[in-house]
Every structure is written in C-alpha cells, then in structure tokens.
Symmetry: C2
Subunit: 279 residues, 2 copies
C-alpha cells in the first residue's frame, strides 16, 4: 500500500470530537511507521444525539478532507456513532479502504463470550441504530444495547474517578442488568461502544459483576486496523511512536482540543490546526 | 409594530436547542396576541462548548431564517450562549429589534440584590465570554460566574428530580460558594444563566443557602420582551395562549424535539418542521 519513495503511508482517523484519540492511542504502537492525520469535527459534536442523515453528511465531509487534503490512503472511523450510521456513506464517498469500530468490537465480543450473550453501552444514536446488535448477530451473538448519554459529558468534565460518575455507571449498569434478566439473557461480556468510555474503564470494571469481561472497541478497532493496513499486527509493547508523525485537525475550539486531547491520547497532541468544513 | 390588516406580529425566538422553549413559555402569557416562530438549531447543538466565531455564524443563519423565511418583526435570542457571543453579529445581520437574555438577567439581578454581589451559573462558553460579569458591572454589580457543563445533559436525560442531579448541583454550588468567599464577595442572588436550568429550579432552590434569591434569565427576558414588543407587559395570569400561534422549526431530530420540547414548553410543541440551514 505504501510507496517507499514517497514516505510512510498516511492513515486518516476521524471522530466527531476527541474520543477517537483513544483509538489513535491504540493504533500508534501497532502501526509505528505510519503517518497519522486525525480530524475531530468539534464544531458539530456531539454526533450521538443527531439523525442518520445529518451524521452521514458531516462524516463524509471529514472523510473527504482526510483523503483529499491529507492524502490518507486508508481511514479509521474512530467514532461509534459515525461507524454505526455513516460507514456505507463514507465508503461510497472515498476511494480508500475504510474501517469502523463496530465490527471489530463485535468480533472481539465473539472471541470473549462463552455464553453467546453480550451487553453494549453506547450513545443514543449508536444504540438507536442497533448497529452493535446487528454486527453481534452476524457473529452468532445476542446483544442487548443501552444508551448512557451522561458518560461523555462526565468524561469531558474530567470526572474520570469521581463518585458521581461511579454512581451514574452503577445506575446505568443496574438498569442494563435488569433488562438483560428480563430478556432471559446470560451475558458474560460488556462492550464499550463509545470511544470516550475507555477513560472510564477502571470505574466500569469496578461496577460490573464478577465474571463479566469488559471489551474496548477502540482497542479492537486498532487491532483490526493493524491487520488490515500493516499486513500483520505489531507485537504489543513495540512502541516506536516517538517517531510517529501525528497531525491533528479540529473544526472548532483548537485550544480545547489541545487541552482535552492529551487526556484521550495519553500524550500531548501537539499543535492542532483549525479546519473549516463549511457547516 | 403590527399592521392590523396583516394579522398578529411575528416574534422570532431562537435557541441552539430546546432550552429556549422555557423563554417561549414565559413569553406566551405576556404576548398573547403574537404569532411565535421558534427555531432550535438542534443539528449543531450544543453551542456551549463552541467558539465565538462558530456560534456567531450559526446564530446568524437561524436569525436570518426567522426574519427572511418566517417574517419575524422582532427576535428574542433565547439562548444564553448565543446572547453572550453573537448578539452584535445578529443585530448587524437582521433589520429588526433583537433582544438577548443576558441583559434582562443582569437587570433582574440588580433589582434583586441588596449586597451588590451576585453569582451566575451557565455553560462553558457563556462563562468564558464573561458576558454576565460585564452586564452586571454595567448595573453596578459584582458577579462571579461558574460553568456547570453537566447540568444540560442531566436535564436532557430527564433526571430533573434525580439524586445524582441534586449531588452535582450541590458540588457546583459548593465550589462557587468557596470561590465567592475567597474573592471576598457577599452574594445574595443566583442567576440561572442557561435556559435549561429553570427545569432544575426546585433542586437548585433546595441547594442554595437561605437568603440567596434565585433569578431566572428566561423569565427576565420574557418580561423585557413584553415591555419592548408590546408597549406594556400583560398582567401575569392573563394567559390567552390557547389562541396563540406557535410554529416550531428544528435543524435536526424533529422527533426528539417533539418528544423533549413539551418538557421545556410546559405544553405540547405541536408539529415541528425540519429546516436545512446548510451546515
């Protein structure tokens, strides 16, 4: 895929905001020789509460920016909502391979689950699309999905280890357990179907019953991307990312992106460029 | 302002979402003979976390829609963030009188405060603009502002009377009281500087110390609009709103608007029309 004379291949990574930086963080050690162009469509976030039509229009504009302006040779849609509602539209709009986070998440759930029943927590729009339920069904799994709209604002408020956040997680997971019981499911796996949720993983793991395994779609998507774009996944721990090129773009609030982004990427995001997608 | 031959005057009311319906609810009994056109720019909400430039561009598009397409002869900017960051831009862009919510809120705070020190809670963008502090200073008041970014998502989750919401309010108000104390202020008035917050008024009033009066910018703006557009405020309780025409428009999620809107308006919002502002 990459021409040795023209430098490392560019992988475009797209999210509605900063959350997708958790996917980029997982990608870095797996694709150490790639150049990454990340765009957060922060002027129009959050996608989670918007309609399919609007989300598809927004996501296609960001994807086209990455391919046309940044020369991306492949795309990772590091946003569950856009993966759920706009993957087809993006694939139709750009001439490069496109990978979402839903299918890798479902595949990882398949590998984890012994009972065949899984739980998924995500944004409103992702849940309403039933993209996880459909992808899990394709893997022979039964999935019960729940929207947890307060978790993204709690992460963005920085209440990562806060008692209020622990209580909100407990309430959501209790409701989900009750619904699973009522539906006759015996779940053993919980999929984090939003790229903000990995930051809450410690609190979520404290709140889930023993024996329930937590799967991170961001991690799963990065594994899948490494297989797809690299030929083979880099062994974990081989992080040469210090030499990896990362260029971040945002459609609004460059300062906020720079300030919050490092929390998601686990390292400074560097200088963020403002992009006007016209909407 | 109104020509008797062409029917009642149209008042345009604008918000980034549904919150401004609390202002519309306060306007109805005060301007019973008006026709109201309300637009919620739901495709691009929330404005509270976006930059001045982006907010101004979005707000002007909605204002122009109300004036050009709906024939609005006056506008109420029923959104604290847009009032704080885009009032001048809107006034420059449309040839009708424009009223925001900030100045009426500050005027009401002036009427309430005996100590001359007031507290303001609002979104991130409203607070960062210091629009309330400036408007309060013009009234001879000292104001301390605090961003409370979790309150809007809690209202939209429907957790209006929820213990988690009560705890979040307690945390925010405790932090604000500590800051006020450190700044040597002696506040006796709290301004609700976001149109979502009136729905939390019961919980907020339980959380504030005795003697602190809660002022609602939505209510204050409706009073000011009635004086400005009607010549005189209608006496309270004279609600002829059953005969008032209300037309609601949204840039996204018409179903969600219809479902959530009634919570803010205190009555059904009726059929909501989808509008494409092109962004």
């Amino acid at each position: 895929m990459s021409d040795p004379e023209k430098g490392p291949p560019t992988i475009g990574v797209f999210d509605s905001g900063f959350g997708g930086l958790t996917v980029l963080q997982s990608l870095l050690p797996r694709l150490p020789r790639a150049r990454f162009a990340f765009i957060g469509d922060t002027a129009r976030l959050p996608y989670g509460s918007k309609s399919r039509r609007t989300i598809a229009r927004y996501a296609v504009e960001s994807a086209q920016f990455l391919v046309r302006e940044q020369g991306a040779e492949s795309l990772v849609i590091a946003c569950n909502t856009a993966s759920a509602l706009a993957l087809d539209a993006i694939q139709d709009a750009v001439p490069v391979p496109v990978l979402g986070v839903i299918e890798p998440g479902a595949t990882a759930a398949r590998a984890s689950s012994k009972t065949g029943d899984v739980l998924v927590i995500a944004t409103d729009a992702t849940v309403q699309s039933h993209a996880y339920a459909t992808a899990c069904k394709d893997q022979g799994l039964r999935a019960l999905e729940k929207a947890c709209p307060l978790l993204v604002p709690l992460v963005e408020e920085g209440w990562i280890n806060h008692p209020v956040t622990a209580e909100v997680i407990r309430i959501y997971l209790d409701e989900l357990a009750t619904d699973a019981n009522a539906a006759g499911l015996n779940p053993d796996t919980l999929v984090l179907g939003c790229t903000h949720y990995p930051l809450l993983r410690p609190l979520i793991e404290q709140a889930v019953p023993n024996g329930l395994k937590v799967i991170d779609s961001a991690e799963a998507a990065a594994e899948a991307a490494a297989r797809l774009f690299n030929g083979r996944a880099q062994p974990r721990g081989v992080d040469e990312a210090g030499s990896t090129e990362i260029h971040c773009f945002a459609t609004d609030s460059v300062e906020k992106f720079e300030r919050l982004g490092s929390r998601f990427l686990g390292r400074p995001v560097g200088k963020v460029e403002l992009v006007d997608l016209g909407g």
